[in-house]
């Protein structure tokens, strides 16, 4: 067998061996699993349509909400701590319920939360209010435990068990 053929085979073998290693490492790269937060509508199925739907509501809200919207009106609720970190809910004038019950708007996966823990709703002026629904461990706005329905200011942390949520623009 000619010297050249053998040299080519020798280098070729090393090349395919390393190619295998590289492919294996690529498989590891694509093999991530665990927990992931997916923005519904942007990445999930039929992203376009969902995105369109997501942009559509604001004008609607403007009409139904009576137009009394100041600069400091929050537009979304963000979970900043706890297992649901990163979850956002758009505020459209609907009541948001929080708790472990499966029909809550935000289902808390938190041992220290009650089934129906708290709710957040807009009053007639469009001011968002948080109310504790007789939970076992209480709802805290900043450091104070809530006893009555309380208005929420932008960025104030609402603490439920290990979960912290706040309103943002």
């Amino acid at each position: 067998m000619s010297e050249l053929t053998l040299t080519v085979m020798r280098l070729g073998f090393l090349a395919v061996l390393w190619l295998f290693v590289i492919v294996a490492v690529q498989v590891i790269r694509s093999d991530l699993f665990g927990t992931r937060v997916t923005q519904r509508g942007s990445r999930r199925e039929s992203g376009r349509a969902q995105q369109a739907a997501r942009q559509a509501p604001p004008p609607q809200r403007q009409q139904t909400g009576g137009g009394r919207r100041g600069r400091n009106t929050p537009t979304k609720l963000v979970v900043t701590e706890g297992t649901l970190t990163g979850t956002t809910v758009a505020l459209q004038g609907q009541t948001i319920t929080l708790g472990r019950a499966h029909d809550s708007t935000i289902v808390l996966d938190d041992d220290y939360a009650s089934s129906r823990h708290a709710r957040i709703y807009p009053d007639r002026d469009g001011q968002w209010i948080v109310e504790d629904l007789g939970s076992t461990n209480g709802t805290y706005l900043d450091r104070t435990r809530l006893t009555t329905p309380t208005p929420i200011s932008l960025g104030a942390p609402i603490r439920i068990g290990k979960t912290v949520i706040e309103l943002r623009k």
Partner: protein, 482 residues
């Protein structure tokens, strides 16, 4: 997948486990690759030695392909979510090992020796048996947690396996190391290779129960957690047993493997660095102590410290009651003459090593014929197996599975280190075999079983979580205690 927000509410984000996809097709593609590479190497050896494609190419390729195919189908059927890399890498290593063994079979120098037997067909048969055991593990072991029930039975089993070579009549002494047993009519067996797996089961079961006592009851001294005296019991018992193995079976490798595995698992179970410090001190003390009076170990240490002198003594035929070995030096020369890119398959002279060229010293053949570049790739492949094992341990949800996966992959890593380090002259040479590459039935069969258990644990770990409880309202709220 658990959607934690109410599906009726739009514009929220969902949180769910990324359903680790089953990855079986990736595995299949890699397997095809893993079969093609050894076939290529096999053709290469034939072309280099006899200027023609070897006659057995087709049957060899079909044999390896069948093994891979059966393994793959078993995984698809019994462990659909298992790790996609372990099986292809093991197949590739096994295939390349077979090529190297076959290549050494073709050596005229080795054929001239008295003890020559065709090793490749036997190794192919052992590999097939190994894959059969692999399939059996996946079939019978539906849940690795079952093994937890046999914690203390495994301890007894491992001790029996370790002691078997010492039984007169059954034990079989091969060149100074008593780690074989002879089964009449069947050949020899190295029970230590199987003891490795059984012992991992025992350590995992034992440490899972005792980890708290070992981790928490300790005093802090100079930045180290010193365990209480009575908690030192287990590590001392394992240490004594491994010293006894060293003394009576004169096998440094097995002894190091078991003690090292225990220390690794102890460290993982307790998260205390002090155990590693203790382990290193104890193994160093034990090895030095035994080496001071055991001639077999002394030879090995001598050959490690000054291989050239041993080579010359052996060549000169010096008879001073100590067996001088040329092999350590020959292995180093093989690595040296291979250089970076190697001499090419079939064109090296590693067969000069003679006895054990295809088992303990097989890495030297690779070092010569595929060079540093090839050996690095092989070591990386081993590292990938270990990495997948550790990743399995991280992903496993039950502590027993975690410890078992860590123990098995730790033992695998230690074995590779001990053998490769020995052949390359980093540590004294020990009589162990490179997993999957080297000739040796027990080793290849036991390692296939090991891969099977790892795949079982990883299947359990990566399986998508079951649907959430039907009625979360029924759960009690925990109360914060002030």
């Amino acid at each position: 997948m658990s959607s934690t927000t109410n599906p009726s509410t739009q514009h929220t984000s969902t949180i769910g486990a990324i359903g680790a996809p089953s990855r079986r097709n990736t595995e299949l593609a890699l397997l095809v690759f893993a079969v093609v590479i050894p076939v290529f190497a096999y053709a290469n050896v034939g072309l280099a030695l006899d200027d023609q494609v070897p006659a057995g190419l087709l049957s060899y390729g079909i044999g390896l392909g069948l093994m891979a195919g059966v393994g793959h189908l078993a995984v698809r059927k019994f462990a659909p979510y298992a790790d996609p890399l372990l099986l292809p890498i093991a197949t590739l290593l096994n295939g390349i090992g077979l090529v190297a063994i076959w290549r050494l079979d073709q050596s005229e120098r080795l054929q001239a020796s008295r003890t020559f037997v065709e090793a490749a067909p036997r190794q192919l048969m052992y590999s097939a048996l190994g894959v059969a055991l692999f399939v059996a593990v996946l079939f019978f072991l539906k849940d690795h947690r079952v093994l937890q029930r046999y914690t203390y039975i495994s301890m007894a089993g491992a001790l029996v396996l370790l002691l078997l070579p010492l039984v007169p009549g059954l034990g079989h002494n091969v060149f100074g190391a008593r780690i074989w047993i002879k089964i009449p009519g069947l050949g020899t067996l190295q029970p230590g290779e199987f003891a490795k797996i059984v012992l991992a089961v025992f350590f995992a079961g034992y440490l899972m129960v005792k980890r708290d006592a070992l981790a928490l009851a300790s005093r802090r001294f100079m930045g180290l957690y010193l365990p209480r005296g009575r908690d030192l019991g287990p590590i001392i018992v394992v240490w004594i047993i491994s010293i006894l193995i060293l003394v009576f079976e004169t096998d440094l490798g097995t002894s190091l493997l078991f003690f090292g595995m225990f220390v690794i698992m102890l460290y993982v179970a307790t998260e205390r660095t002090s155990w590693i410090v203790f382990g290193l001190l104890m193994s160093a003390a034990g090895a030095v102590g035994v080496a001071s009076f055991e001639p077999h170990i002394q030879t090995r240490v001598q050959a490690w410290l000054d291989p050239m002198r041993e080579f010359e003594l052996s060549r000169a035929g010096v008879q001073d009651g100590i067996v001088h070995s040329e092999q350590a030096m020959q292995a180093l020369w093989a690595f040296g003459s291979g250089g970076t890119l190697g001499t090419g398959w079939g064109q090296g002279n590693s067969d000069l090593i003679g006895f054990a060229a295809n088992s303990d010293f097989i890495l030297a053949t690779f070092g010569e014929e595929i060079g540093l570049a090839g050996v690095m790739a092989l070591i990386l492949l081993y590292a990938l197996i270990v990495e997948r094992g550790v990743r399995t341990a991280l992903a496993a949800r039950d502590p027993f599975g975690k410890l078992l996966a860590i123990g098995l992959s730790g033992a695998f890593a230690l074995q590779v280190f001990v053998v490769a380090g020995g052949v390359m002259g980093l540590i004294p040479l020990t009589g162990m075999t490179m997993p999957f590459l080297a000739y040796g039935g027990s080793s290849v069969i036991a390692n296939w079983a090991l891969i099977g258990i790892l795949l079982r644990i990883s299947d359990t770990a990566r399986r998508p979580a079951p649907a959430p409880a039907a009625n979360p309202d029924a759960e009690m709220t925990q109360v914060v205690r002030p």
